[in-house]
Symmetry: C2
Subunit: 221 residues, 2 copies
DNA sequence: TAGGATTTGTGCGTATGTATT
DNA sequence: TAATACATACGCACAAATCCT
């Protein structure tokens, strides 16, 4: 009973779809969304759609202004710095708080991510990179059973992922370098997990976040 | 221009009022709220009220079930453990990430909190204790300029405060002891801040959270 | 300055789901 | 099992705010 037909199911469908569009820059920062058009697309009235928009607004991805419209938010550089500083710390916590030893299934899915990273090195592609980055993040979240930590980390990740993606896609040359660095980091990460060292894996991820941000700021300058 | 008459202002009024009622146990866990009655009370229709309820649901304080009602959530012991573990870590971060040196105004307001703690020791009162605890938490949040950290810490705090409060109010004898311990901790906290040692203050707060939870579990047993 | 076009916010009636008799 | 009561979810029309001409 997947409940895909219930109110909760419809909410989830729309929520994940719109969030993905924002995070993959289908709706880049500054975009003005039309409630009516989106409601038509999803085959519902404005009311349930507005519930979804309200949630995304609470999470900082949208901002609705009376009489103006619903805008995809941008992230100020100062706020971006703060979020990355916090994400860096939270990444380490994921390996320390309620750690979950990786099972065969997780290792297998991580091997899949490594393979995708290799393929990406051979043929760099912004959208594929973005999706792989998301999947890698979600895999990392499986390391902790601390649900509040997962939820918070996820929220901060989805708030800043698109800004990182924007900086990566702005220059073709950086994409190639970034993909290569990412490939090595995923390999290091999986190597640590394979021997069961969650703390080391978390540190690799922490370093990954920190250095991503450093390269991002360098590109922006 | 306080904008209290705008849609955003009305939302904020209702949001803070209802959240406070939940956190001070005016609406204890399990309470079924009536959308219609609350809408009448605030002088609006159900639509804007439901926006508020949706936000509180996103923050884990409420749960709306189609055909059943809007229920004030309880927190399972396992989730409570996880939240406290996380809050303990975040409390320490507040003194390390983007620290804000306390100014005269903050010190003065903290002195006010100390005075209220003293008064509370003389005449223990669950509701006054709960309010003082909230004000102390908000003062602690002023120590960091990291807005995402503030927002997250605040959310976790308001999610578990009422559970702590419930355990304190369940036995009269524990209230007296808890107030005395709190009084000492506030004093230690202010002493650290007065000499500008934010990190020490954060550690005091961290210990406060950790020990509060320990005593809470002991009471529950 | 005024007014029309467009967008979000609100009010309310109805549909749908749940629990109980 | 069916009917009834009552709750949330939804659709739609209108109010209010903003922007542009």
């Amino acid at each position: 009973m997947p409940e895909e037909d219930s109110a909760r199911g419809r909410f989830g469908k729309m929520y994940h779809e719109i969030r993905m569009r924002i995070c993959l820059l289908d709706y880049p920062p500054g975009t003005r969304l039309s409630e009516e058009a989106m409601a038509r697309e999803f085959g519902v009235s404005r009311t349930p759609l507005r519930r979804v928009l309200g949630r995304l607004e609470a999470e900082g991805l949208l901002q609705s202004v009376h009489g103006v419209g619903t805008l995809v938010t941008d992230v100020e550089i100062e706020e971006l710095i703060q979020v990355y500083r916090l994400r860096t710390e939270l990444a380490e916590l994921a390996g320390l708080l309620d750690p979950v030893p990786p099972d065969a299934k997780l290792i297998a899915s991580l091997d899949g991510l490594v393979a995708r990273a290799k393929a990406l090195v051979a043929r760099p592609d912004p959208r594929g990179f973005a999706q792989l980055n998301i999947d890698f993040f979600e895999a990392h979240m499986a390391l902790t059973a601390n649900e509040p930590l997962r939820e918070i980390s996820r929220r901060l990740y989805y708030q800043t992922h698109r800004i990182w993606l924007k900086s990566v896609t702005s220059r073709r040359i950086d994409l190639v370098e970034e993909v290569q660095v990412f490939d090595r980091e995923v390999e290091d990460y999986v190597r640590a997990l394979r021997i069961g060292d969650l703390e080391a894996a978390a540190h690799v991820h922490r370093a990954h976040i920190s250095m991503s941000f450093t390269r991002m700021r360098k590109n922006a300058a």
